[in-house]
Structure formats: structure tokens, C-alpha cells
């Protein structure tokens, strides 16, 4: 039981930082956040979906398929944002050795992979009418695919360790190396593309996005971001609880061993 006592009662003074960062207190305050966050997410999603389907015009060129963008762009944004969260948490793990940074890192990885997969999936759905094929070796799509592989590799590394406390530090090293390398990968993929098929793809970006497209896009992006926040918090709570169960089991095993001696 000693571990739990350590987890629970070691807080010196419940300052703001301690309240945020202490695993036991985290479970306390985060409980009250989940429902409001979920409600905000649902409301934003409902508004955003309404705007996407009925509140915005079809594209003069692409027709209704342009609406895929309202899912694709936020998912693509989150695929990168999740990595940023993992990167920041990795620094927390390496510099401050903070257990909540470990938990945050671990919680963000599958979410990042899921949003990246969603971005790829919607991208290829969009690609079918636009390029005439589900998969085109387009620069952005290819970099996103490599990003997915990096996420999956990181998840695999997490799972390869029995001791999750130890795993966090090794994963942090990979996350840092990945963060430095992702821009290089992006650059190399773009370079590769210009080498093999100079300028062919239709791109939607550009500075002149009409407001009736921009507003649903922003609302959907907000909805996705809130969804991430909610899920991240839920997953972090699950992970903290899992670790507690684990330390309880360890304590029980040791108590039993002590009795046997």
C-alpha cells in the first residue's frame, strides 16, 4: 500500500501546479471537466456539421465533394497537433521526469494515429473524384502516411515495454528525434515529388478562401480540437487509474511474498 500512499499523500502544498500535475489530484479535478468538454464538443460538432452540409455552398468545380474538406482539414491539423502535444510531453518527461507527462504522451499517441488515419482516409475519398484514384503519391498525402507510420512505431515501442515508467523515457527520445526529422521527411517527400512528377495536382489552398467556406472549416476545426482535448483527458484518466491498479497488484504480490517468507 506504500506506493499508493506515495502517489496520494506526497503533495507538499496544493499549489496550482501541484494540483494540475499530481496524479491523485488530477483524477479529482479532471472528473468535473469531462462532461462539460463533451457537451461543448457535441455542440460545436453539431453546429459545424450543419454548416458543412447546409450552411455552405458546393464548390463550382468539385461540387458537393468539397464538403469532405470539412472533415479532412481538421483531421490533418490534429494529426500534427497531437505530435506537438507528444513532443511537449516528451520534454516534460525528459527534463522534469514528471509522471503526468508520461501519461499525456502515452494518451496522445493513439489519438494522433487515429486522426492521421482519418486524414488519410478522407483524403483518399476526396482524391477519388479529384484525381480519379483513391491513392495518389501526392506530397502531402505521402508525408501524412509517413507520419502515421511514426505514430504506429511509437505505439509499438510503448507496447514492447513491460515497465511503462521506463518506456516513457525511451519513447521520449524517439519522439524528439521524430520531431526533428518530420520537417526533413516533409522536405524530402516534396523534393521527391518535384523530381518525379513536376506540378500536376490540384490544390485547394491559397489565400482566397471564401468566408462561407472558412467559417464551417473553423467551426469544425474547433470541434475536432475539443474532441481531442476530451479524449485526451479521458485517456489520461484511464492511464492513471491503470497504473494505480498495477501498483496495487504489485503491492499485493509483495505482501503475499512477505507472508510466505
Amino acid at each position: 500500500m506504500k506506493d499508493l500512499a506515495l502517489l496520494e499523500d506526497n503533495a507538499p502544498k496544493p499549489g496550482l501546479w501541484t494540483q494540475i500535475a499530481h496524479p491523485g489530484l488530477f483524477l479529482g479535478w479532471s472528473r468535473h471537466l469531462i462532461v462539460p468538454l463533451a457537451v461543448i464538443t457535441a455542440a460545436l460538432a453539431a453546429w459545424g456539421l450543419y454548416l458543412s452540409f447546409w450552411g455552405s455552398p458546393p464548390d463550382y468545380q468539385m461540387g458537393d465533394t468539397v464538403r469532405i474538406m470539412y472533415v479532412h482539414v481538421p483531421a490533418a491539423w490534429l494529426s500534427q497537433f497531437c505530435y506537438a502535444v507528444m513532443f511537449a510531453s516528451a520534454i516534460g518527461t525528459l527534463v522534469w521526469r514528471h509522471p503526468m507527462a508520461d501519461v499525456s504522451q502515452k494518451a496522445a499517441a493513439p489519438l494522433g494515429a487515429a486522426f492521421t488515419l482519418l486524414a488519410l482516409f478522407t483524403g483518399s475519398l476526396w482524391g477519388r473524384p479529384t484525381w480519379g484514384t483513391f491513392w495518389e503519391w501526392d506530397g502531402r498525402m505521402t508525408s501524412t502516411l509517413v507520419l502515421l507510420f511514426i505514430y504506429l512505431g511509437i505505439i509499438a515501442l510503448w507496447r514492447a515495454f513491460d515497465d511503462q515508467l521506463k518506456a516513457a523515457r525511451f519513447v521520449s527520445v524517439v519522439t524528439l528525434v521524430g520531431a526533428i526529422n518530420i520537417p526533413v521527411i516533409k522536405f524530402s517527400v516534396d523534393w521527391w515529388q518535384t523530381l518525379h512528377q513536376p506540378a500536376s495536382v490540384i490544390r485547394l489552398d491559397g489565400p482566397t478562401i471564401a468566408p462561407e467556406i472558412l467559417i464551417p472549416l473553423l467551426v469544425m476545426t474547433a470541434a475536432f480540437s475539443m474532441l481531442f482535448l476530451t479524449l485526451h483527458l479521458v485517456r489520461m484518466r484511464t492511464e492513471v487509474i491503470k497504473r494505480r491498479i498495477r501498483s496495487l497488484e504489485l503491492a499485493a504480490a509483495r505482501a503475499a511474498a512477505g507472508g510466505a517468507l
Binding site: L94, V146, F149, I150, L152, G153, I154, A156, L157, A160, F161, K166, R169, F170, V171, V173, V174, L176, V177, G178, I180, N181, V184, I185, F187, S188, V189, W191, W192, T194, L195, H196, P198
Partner: protein, 220 residues
């Protein structure tokens, strides 16, 4: 410097005495390079066109296979713990081991490239560029492999995870490496070689810090 050279010399000596490993690695490289034509077909012009890709994929896979032994035996027999008490930082220990590893794995592959090139119908100039791109690109491959080896060093199940981590990270090396041999766009080849050299320098300079960090954690 004496300690650095001692580590390089010891690893080289160990590698050369167990020379079988080097031969196996070269064999693997050549076999991968000759198996792919069986999948592609014996069409010589087509093979010649695909030759850069084949050479690089074979080199990448061979390098990937050899990374596990970079730290494995030193970790298991306790040498790594003692090297922590050497008068040189762990980052330099990693650097010394990377250098020896490059000599033991990359050089034999580069030396075997002409054989593969001959069979794939590579022209003289392309062969030179292939060797050049391998010389400039393999340090970066070794560097990324070192990260993979360091973060999985204490893992019993690390054998499969490391390649999955290392392959996506190595993608730029593959792109610039094959790009250096692709004569499609004028000027691209020289640009690719420059990028490859830059990538090699930066990764070889930064990786020892990341790998040493992981090895310190692994000591626990």
C-alpha cells in the same frame, strides 16, 4: 582520444574476428538485390532503370538487420556499464561505436555494390553515382539505426520494433540516395548528393546525444 580509439579498435577487432557476420551481411545485400529481379522480370532496360532503387532498398534492409548488434552484446555483458566510467562522455562512446559499425557494415556493402551493379546492368557513370550516394548516405542510415538500437537495447522484444521505428525515419536517406542516381531532372543528382551529405553530417552530429540519453535510461 585514446579511449575513443580503443573502443573503435576493439569493435573493429571483434567484428573482423567474427568475420562471418560481415560475409553474411554482404551475402544478404547481394541476395536481396538479386531476388528483386526475379519479381520484376529479366527485362534488362527495365532492370537498369530500377537498379538505383534496388541497390538502395537492399542496402537499407542490410543496414537495418545489422543494427541490433550495435549495443546488444555490450549491454548484455555489462561492458556498457563500465564504459560509463571511462574518462570520455557516453556520447563519444556512442560516436566511437557508430564509426566502427559503419566500417564493419556499410563499407562491405559499398564494396559489394559493383557486383550487384553489373548484374543489374548499371552503366559506369550510374555505378559511380551509386557508390557516391552510398558513401554519403550510409552514415545517416547508421545514425538512424543507432537511435533505434539505443531505445530498444534492453528489450527482449526489441528485434521487430527497432526496424519499424527506423524505417520511416530513414525515408529521406532513401529519397536523396536514389535521387542522386536519377538523371530525370538536370541538376537533381548533384543537389541530392549535397542534401545527403548535409543529412549525414547533421544526423551523425546529433544522434550520439539522443542515443546516449537512451543508453543512460537503459542502465537503470
Amino acid at each position: 582520444m585514446r579511449a575513443f580509439l580503443a573502443i573503435v579498435a576493439r569493435d573493429l577487432r571483434l567484428g573482423l574476428r567474427q568475420g562471418g557476420d560481415i560475409l553474411t551481411l554482404v551475402l544478404f545485400f547481394v541476395i536481396v538485390g538479386t531476388v528483386l529481379p526475379f519479381a520484376i522480370g529479366p527485362d534488362r532496360p527495365q532492370l537498369a532503370r530500377l537498379a538505383p532503387a534496388i541497390v538502395w532498398v537492399a542496402a537499407l534492409l542490410a543496414q537495418l538487420l545489422s543494427n541490433e548488434r550495435l549495443f546488444g552484446s555490450d549491454f548484455e555483458d555489462g561492458s556498457l556499464a563500465i564504459l560509463r566510467h571511462a574518462p570520455l562522455p557516453l556520447e563519444m562512446v556512442v560516436g566511437a561505436k557508430m564509426l566502427a559499425h559503419w566500417v564493419l557494415t556499410a563499407l562491405p556493402i559499398i564494396a559489394a555494390t559493383p557486383v550487384l551493379a553489373l548484374m543489374l546492368g548499371m552503366e559506369g557513370e550510374t555505378l559511380l553515382r551509386a557508390i557516391g550516394s552510398l558513401v554519403l548516405g550510409t552514415p545517416a542510415l547508421v545514425a538512424f539505426g543507432t537511435v533505434g538500437a539505443a531505445v530498444t537495447v534492453g528489450l527482449k522484444r526489441g528485434g521487430l520494433v527497432a526496424p519499424v521505428l527506423v524505417l520511416p525515419l530513414s525515408l529521406p536517406v532513401l529519397i536523396f540516395g536514389t535521387g542522386a542516381m536519377a538523371p530525370m531532372v538536370p541538376g537533381a543528382s548533384g543537389q541530392a548528393l549535397l542534401l545527403l551529405a548535409a543529412l549525414g553530417l547533421v544526423s551523425v552530429a546529433l544522434v550520439p546525444f539522443a542515443a546516449a540519453m537512451a543508453l543512460r535510461f537503459a542502465g537503470e
